[in-house]
C-alpha cells in the first residue's frame, strides 16, 4: 500500500504518524513545497523576535521521518494529479504513484489589492522563509507597518514591537481580530498591545505603499503618511485548492470532504486548512482553520486511509488561544455575537470585572460559544460542552460561578476512560450529611 501525502505541516505529519501506527508495512511518502523539515508555522513570530531559535520550530524531532520510515521529499511541488492513473507529477517532472492520496496543501497568504506590494521590504508573515528574511532585515529598521489585524497580523506586530520597532497596525474593520473576538475582548487585547507602543488605525482600507525600490512608508486615506522600513501583509489567506480543482474534485471556498475526510474521489482525502468543514456551533460550512483542527483531521484522514474507519463529525470553526503580552485569551465556537445583536434565540451571559472578561453564548439550552479574556482556566471544559452539545439547562445560572467545573458532568467521559469508582447510593442522596462518616469509611 502506497500512501502519498501532499503537504508537510500539521495535517500531513499527523496523518503520516497515524498511518504508520496502523500500517507497519505500507509505503508513506510526504511531499512538501518548503525546504524545511516540518515546522510549526504558528510559532514563527517567536522566531522573528528571537525568543526561540530555528531548531525550536520543529514540532517533531529531526529523526521523525527516519523513525517512522517515511520518505520525506522537501523543496518539491506537485504540479498535477492524475486521478485515472493514480499518480502525481512533480515539478521536476518525476512521477509518483499512490494507492491513497492526501491533500494537505493548506492555504497561502492573500495578496491585497494594494499598489507596490512588490517592493523590497514588503513581506507576508506566513512561512519560515518570510520569517528568516524579516528577521535579517529588522535589525536595520526602526519603523514598521502591519496591514491587517487578524491573528497573523497581531503576531507580527507583537514580534516586531518586542524587537523595539515602532509598529503601526492598519485594519479595515473597527476592531482587532474581527473574525475571532467580539468588541470587548478585542479592546482588551488591543490595550495589551498598545502598552508596548503599538499603534492602531481602524476602518481604513485606502492604503498605498510608497517607495522606489524599497518601501519607505505607507499612505493612508490619501493623506496620512507613515514612514516604514518594513511592511507586513496580513490580509487573510487563500486556500491552495488549485490542484484539487484541476483534478476535477469538488471544491467551493475549500475542498469539500465527507465525514471520512474523503473528497469526491474515494481514494483521495483532504485535511487541514485546505478543506471546508461543517461548523457545529453555527451550522454553517466554513474553511477549516487552526492547528488543532488540522492535526485532528490529519489523524482521522490517516485512520480512514489505513482502512480503520473513523467519523470526523465535530468540527468547530472559531478556536483561538492567544497571549500576546500579558493577557491570555481564548475564543471558541459561535462567540462573535455582540450583546446588541438581534438574534433572539441566543442568550448571552457575560461578566467583566477586574481585568477578566468572560462571555458565554447559549442557544436552546446548549452552549455554543465562549470568549474568555484574562482568566482562561477550564476553557477547554466549556469547549467540550460546546463540542458535545451538552444540555446545560439545569446549570444556567451557575455557568460562570467559580465552582462550576467538570465535576458537574462527571458522568460524561468525553471519550476518555473515567477515573471514578462507583459511589454508594448514600453519596448521591440528600442524606449524605448523615452518611458522610460511612461513605468516608473512617
Amino acid at each position: 500500500m502506497h500512501y502519498l501525502l501532499i503537504g508537510g505541516s500539521a495535517a500531513a505529519v499527523a496523518a503520516a504518524e497515524t498511518i504508520r501506527g496502523l500500517d507497519k508495512e505500507g509505503l508513506i511518502t510526504i511531499v512538501s513545497r518548503e525546504k524545511y523539515y516540518p515546522y510549526s508555522r504558528c510559532l514563527i513570530s517567536r522566531f522573528v523576535d528571537g525568543r526561540i531559535s530555528q531548531d525550536n520550530l520543529y514540532f517533531k524531532t529531526r529523526d521523525f521521518f527516519k523513525r517512522h520510515k517515511i520518505d520525506g521529499i522537501l523543496s518539491t511541488e506537485v504540479k498535477k494529479i492524475d486521478r485515472g492513473e493514480k499518480k502525481v507529477i512533480l515539478d521536476n517532472n518525476k512521477e509518483l504513484s499512490y494507492d491513497k492520496l492526501l491533500l494537505a496543501t493548506g492555504a497561502r497568504p492573500r495578496l491585497p489589492k494594494i499598489d507596490n506590494t512588490d517592493l523590497k521590504g514588503v513581506y507576508f508573515f506566513h512561512s519560515l522563509e518570510d520569517a528568516s528574511l524579516i528577521k535579517e532585515e529588522l535589525v536595520k529598521i526602526t519603523d514598521a507597518v502591519v496591514i491587517g489585524s487578524g491573528f497573523v497580523g497581531l503576531e507580527a506586530a507583537y514580534a516586531l514591537a518586542r524587537r523595539r520597532l515602532k509598529v503601526t497596525v492598519i485594519e479595515r474593520c473597527s476592531q482587532v481580530l474581527p473574525n475571532q473576538m467580539d468588541t470587548i475582548a478585542a479592546r482588551i487585547i488591543q490595550q495589551d498591545l498598545e502598552s508596548l507602543g503599538v499603534e492602531f488605525i481602524f476602518n481604513e482600507s485606502a492604503i498605498v505603499i510608497n517607495g522606489e525600490e524599497r518601501v519607505s512608508g505607507v499612505t493612508v486615506s490619501d493623506q496620512d503618511y507613515i514612514p516604514a522600513g518594513l511592511v507586513i501583509l496580513a490580509t487573510g489567506t487563500v486556500v491552495n485548492k488549485e490542484l484539487a480543482q484541476e483534478a476535477g474534485l469538488a471544491t467551493e471556498n475549500g475542498i469539500l470532504v465527507n465525514e471520512f475526510l474523503q473528497t469526491s474521489e474515494p481514494d483521495i482525502y483532504a485535511a487541514g486548512d485546505c478543506i471546508e468543514i461543517q461548523d457545529i456551533t453555527s451550522g454553517k460550512r466554513v474553511v477549516s482553520a487552526t492547528w488543532f483542527n488540522a492535526v485532528l483531521q490529519g489523524k482521522f484522514a490517516g485512520s480512514n486511509m489505513a482502512s480503520f474507519s473513523k467519523r470526523y463529525s465535530i468540527g468547530v470553526g472559531i478556536q483561538n488561544a492567544v497571549q500576546f503580552h500579558q493577557i491570555p485569551a481564548i475564543s471558541y465556537g459561535m462567540a462573535m455575537l455582540d450583546t446588541e445583536d438581534p438574534h433572539s434565540d441566543y442568550e448571552v451571559v457575560a461578566i467583566e470585572e477586574k481585568g477578566v472578561y468572560k462571555k458565554l453564548v447559549i442557544r436552546e439550552n446548549r452552549l455554543c460559544g465562549i470568549i474568555f479574556v484574562g482568566d482562561i482556566s477550564k476553557a477547554g471544559f466549556y469547549a467540550a460542552l460546546i463540542r458535545h452539545g451538552v444540555d446545560i439547562s439545569k446549570h444556567k445560572s451557575k455557568l460562570l460561578d467559580p465552582d462550576f467545573s467538570y465535576a458537574y458532568f462527571k458522568e460524561y467521559d468525553f471519550s476518555e476512560k473515567p477515573p471514578y469508582k462507583k459511589v454508594n447510593l448514600c453519596w448521591d442522596s440528600q442524606y449524605w450529611w448523615r452518611e458522610k462518616v460511612r461513605c468516608m469509611g473512617i
Binding site: E353, K354, K394, H395, S397, K398, D401, P402, D403, Y408, D428, S429, Q430, W433, R434, K436, V437, M440, G441, I442
Partner: protein
C-alpha cells in the same frame, strides 16, 4: 442528587433583588463567599478535626484513628462542642452583664435612663432577699450589683439565680445529675481548661459540662438579659410594624440599629423624636425627616416595644444574612452596631462602596477604621445625639439608591405577659386549647439563618408553614423571626395558611399563628412561657407537647441555647447537622441517651416537610402520655 438546585441564593425576592445590585457593583456577598469555600473539609464538618496544639492539626481518617496527643474521634467531637458552648454562654452573659451594669448605674443616679417597670423590679429583686419596699433606686443598685456578683461568682458556689428561679421539678433533675452551675464566667473558664489538649477525656463529663453551661446560659444570660431589659425599657406588647428591605425611605435619613443590645437604640429613638432633629434632617433635604429601623436581634427587641415609638421607629429591616444586601440599597445613612453578628465585610467592603456611616457602640464589636462611640449608661444621650448628627451628614453623601418597592408587615411583641394578657389574664385558655386539640402543640422555631445546605431562610419558612398547617402554634425568635416576618407568616393574614383549628383559635384571640417573641435572647422568654404552661398543667417540661427547633442554626450562641433546651428537657430539632457525626458515641448520647437524663434530646433533619412530620409525631406522643387525644 438534583444538581440543578445547587445554586446558593437568597430566599426572598427583596434580598434577591439587592443581591443583583451588589453583584453589578462587583461585590462578593455571603453567597459568593460560600461558593468559593466549597468543597469544605468533611473532617471538620463531622467534628473530627482538632487544631488546638502544634502537634496538629489532626483529623481522624482511615489512616489515623487518633490525633497525635491520643485523642479519639469521640474526644475531639466532645471537646469541640464544649468550646463552642463556652463561647456562646460567655457571649450571652456578657450581654446580661452590660444590662446589669446599666441597672446599677440607674440606681446610682449615674445614667440617662430610668426604671420603666418598677413593679417587675421590686418583685424579682425581692426573690433574692432584697427589700422590695425600699426606694426604687436602691433596689436597682442592689439588684444590679447582685446580678453582676452572680456572674462573677465561683463555679463551686451554685448560682442563686438558678436555685431560686428555676422550676422545682427541673432543679431536682439537675441536682441528681449534679449540673447546677456556679458563676458562668468561672464555669466557662473551667470548661476551657477541660477542653485543652490532654486534660479531660471523659466524653460524658464534657457533655454534662455543656449542660451546666446551658443552664447558666439561661439564668445568668438569657433570663438576665430579658428580665432586666424589661425593667429598663418596658415589656413587649403586641404591635404591628413593617418588615424587610423595602421599608427604607429614600426621602428620609435612614438609621439602622443593628446588633443585640437595644438600650442605646431606645435612647436614639427618644432623642430622634425631638422636633429639632427632625427639622435638621428636613433642612438637609430629607423631607420625611429621620427614620430609625431595627436590624437583627436588636431590631426585634425594639420591635417588641415599638408601640410607643411609632413616630420614629419604622420597622424591622432584616436578619443576619441580609445585612450586606441592606447596605447595597445605598439608602442606609448610618448603621449603628453593637455586639454580635456583624460581618467583617460591612466595614471592609460594603460601607466604603456605598456611603453608609458606620458607628460601633460596644467595646467588643470593634472593627478597624470604624468610629467608636462606646456605650456608657451616662453617655447614652450624648452618643444618641452624635449618631443623629452623623447620620444627617451622611445623608448628603448618597449616590445611587435602589430600594425594592415591596413591603410586608408583621406583628411582634409577644412574651409570656402579653400572651397571657391576650388570652384574658391567664394561660388557661391556651392550656384548654391544647387539651381540646384546637392547638395540637407549640413549636419554638428559633435561632439563626445559614447559607449551609442552601437554606437562607427556606427551612425556617417552609417548616413554619408545615407546622401551622398541622395546627401547631409557632413561636419565633432570633433571625427566624425575621425570616418568618419577611414571608408574611407573622401577620394576621397568615391564618389563611394554617390548619382550621389553629386558625380559629388565633382569629378568636386576634394573634397570628406564628408569634414573634423577638430576638435570640428572647429564647429565655420562651422557656418562661413553657414553664408557666407546665406549672398550669402541673407537669415538668418534658411532658409538654412542646418542641424546639433551630432549623438553620449557625453560630456558637445557638450551641449554648441548644444545650439550654436539652437541659430543660425539650426535644430539639437541629439543622444543619452539628459537627458530632464523626463520633457515633456523642451522636448517640445527644440523640438518645440524654433523654433518660434530662428528658430532652436532639434530632437532625434537613428537609422541612420531614421535620414537621417528626415534630408532629413527637408532639402526639407527648399528648398521648398526658392522656390528651391526638
Amino acid at each position: 442528587m438534583d444538581t440543578g438546585a445547587y445554586r446558593n441564593q437568597p430566599f426572598d425576592e427583596l434580598s434577591a433583588a439587592m443581591h443583583k445590585v451588589a453583584h453589578k457593583d462587583n461585590l462578593d456577598t455571603i453567597y459568593e463567599r460560600f461558593a468559593k469555600q466549597q468543597p469544605q473539609c468533611a473532617f471538620g464538618a463531622i467534628g473530627v478535626c482538632c487544631t488546638l496544639c502544634t502537634d496538629g492539626p489532626c483529623q481522624i481518617t482511615r489512616k489515623a484513628k487518633r490525633g497525635v496527643c491520643g485523642a479519639s474521634s469521640d474526644l475531639m467531637v466532645a471537646r469541640n462542642l464544649l468550646l463552642k458552648c463556652s463561647q456562646g454562654t460567655a457571649a450571652n452573659v456578657y450581654h446580661a452583664r452590660n444590662v446589669a451594669r446599666t441597672l446599677k448605674a440607674i440606681g446610682e443616679g449615674k445614667s440617662d435612663y430610668e426604671i420603666k417597670d418598677e413593679q417587675k423590679l421590686r418583685q424579682i429583686a425581692s426573690l433574692f432577699g432584697i427589700d422590695g419596699n425600699a426606694p426604687i433606686n436602691k433596689i436597682a443598685k442592689d439588684f444590679g450589683e447582685f446580678f453582676i456578683n452572680q456572674i462573677n461568682s465561683n463555679d463551686y458556689e451554685p448560682l442563686k439565680l438558678v436555685e431560686i428561679v428555676a422550676p422545682k421539678r427541673r432543679l431536682e433533675v439537675w441536682k441528681r445529675l449534679d449540673i447546677i452551675p456556679g458563676g458562668p464566667n468561672s464555669e466557662v473558664a473551667t470548661a476551657l481548661s477541660k477542653a485543652m489538649t490532654n486534660v479531660n477525656n471523659d466524653v460524658v463529663d464534657l457533655l454534662l459540662h455543656c449542660l451546666r453551661l446551658g443552664i447558666a446560659n439561661e439564668y445568668a444570660g438569657l433570663f438576665g438579659i430579658t428580665t432586666l431589659q424589661e425593667m429598663i425599657i418596658g415589656t413587649a406588647k403586641p404591635n404591628k410594624g413593617e418588615v424587610n428591605i423595602g421599608i427604607l425611605d429614600k426621602d428620609a435619613v435612614n438609621i439602622v440599629m443593628h446588633g443585640h443590645q437595644p438600650l442605646l437604640a431606645i435612647k436614639v429613638l427618644e432623642i430622634a423624636r425631638d422636633k429639632k432633629w427632625q427639622k435638621k434632617a428636613k433642612e438637609t433635604g430629607a423631607k420625611n425627616g429621620i427614620k430609625i429601623y431595627g436590624s437583627l436581634c436588636e431590631g426585634q427587641q425594639i420591635f417588641n416595644i415599638a408601640s410607643e415609638y411609632k413616630d420614629v421607629f419604622f420597622g424591622q429591616i432584616g436578619n443576619w444574612i441580609q445585612q450586606e444586601l441592606i447596605i447595597a440599597t445605598g439608602a442606609v445613612d448610618a448603621l449603628v452596631f453593637d455586639y454580635n453578628c456583624v460581618m467583617p465585610t460591612i466595614s471592609e467592603e460594603f460601607a466604603p462602596r456605598y456611603h453608609t456611616k458606620l458607628i460601633s457602640t460596644d467595646k467588643t464589636i470593634r472593627q478597624a477604621g470604624v468610629e467608636r462611640l462606646e456605650f456608657e449608661p451616662d453617655k447614652a444621650v450624648w452618643i444618641a445625639e452624635q449618631i443623629l448628627e452623623k447620620a444627617i451628614i451622611s445623608f448628603g453623601k448618597r449616590s445611587e439608591v435602589n430600594i425594592p418597592a415591596v413591603k410586608y408587615s408583621a406583628i411582634a411583641g409577644f412574651t409570656t405577659e402579653s400572651v397571657v394578657s391576650a388570652l384574658g389574664g391567664s394561660v388557661d385558655p391556651l392550656v384548654e386549647a391544647i387539651k381540646s386539640n384546637s392547638v395540637k402543640g407549640i413549636c419554638a422555631v428559633v435561632g439563626c439563618t445559614t447559607v449551609r445546605e442552601f437554606q437562607s431562610g427556606r427551612h425556617i419558612v417552609n417548616l413554619a408553614r408545615e407546622l401551622i398547617k398541622r395546627d401547631i402554634l409557632v413561636i419565633g425568635a432570633g433571625c427566624c423571626s425575621s425570616a418568618m416576618q419577611n414571608a408574611n407568616l407573622m401577620s394576621l393574614e397568615a391564618v389563611k395558611e394554617s390548619g382550621k383549628r389553629l386558625a380559629s383559635v388565633c382569629s378568636a384571640i386576634g394573634v397570628p399563628p406564628c408569634l414573634s417573641y423577638g430576638s435570640c435572647t428572647d429564647i429565655g422568654k420562651i422557656i418562661n412561657t413553657a414553664v408557666s404552661v407546665a406549672d398550669a398543667l402541673g407537669v415538668d417540661i418534658p411532658s409538654l407537647p412542646v418542641v424546639a427547633s433551630a432549623p438553620e442554626y449557625m453560630e456558637q450562641k445557638a450551641v449554648a441555647d441548644a444545650f439550654t433546651a436539652v437541659a430543660f428537657g425539650l426535644t430539639l430539632h437541629l439543622a444543619p447537622a452539628p459537627p458530632v457525626l464523626g463520633s457515633p458515641l456523642v451522636t448517640k448520647i445527644l440523640t438518645e441517651d440524654v433523654e433518660a437524663l434530662t428528658g430532652g434530646k436532639v434530632f437532625v433533619e434537613l428537609q422541612p416537610e420531614k421535620t414537621a412530620g417528626i415534630i408532629e409525631e413527637v408532639i402526639n406522643k407527648k399528648r398521648q402520655s398526658l392522656g390528651l387525644k391526638i
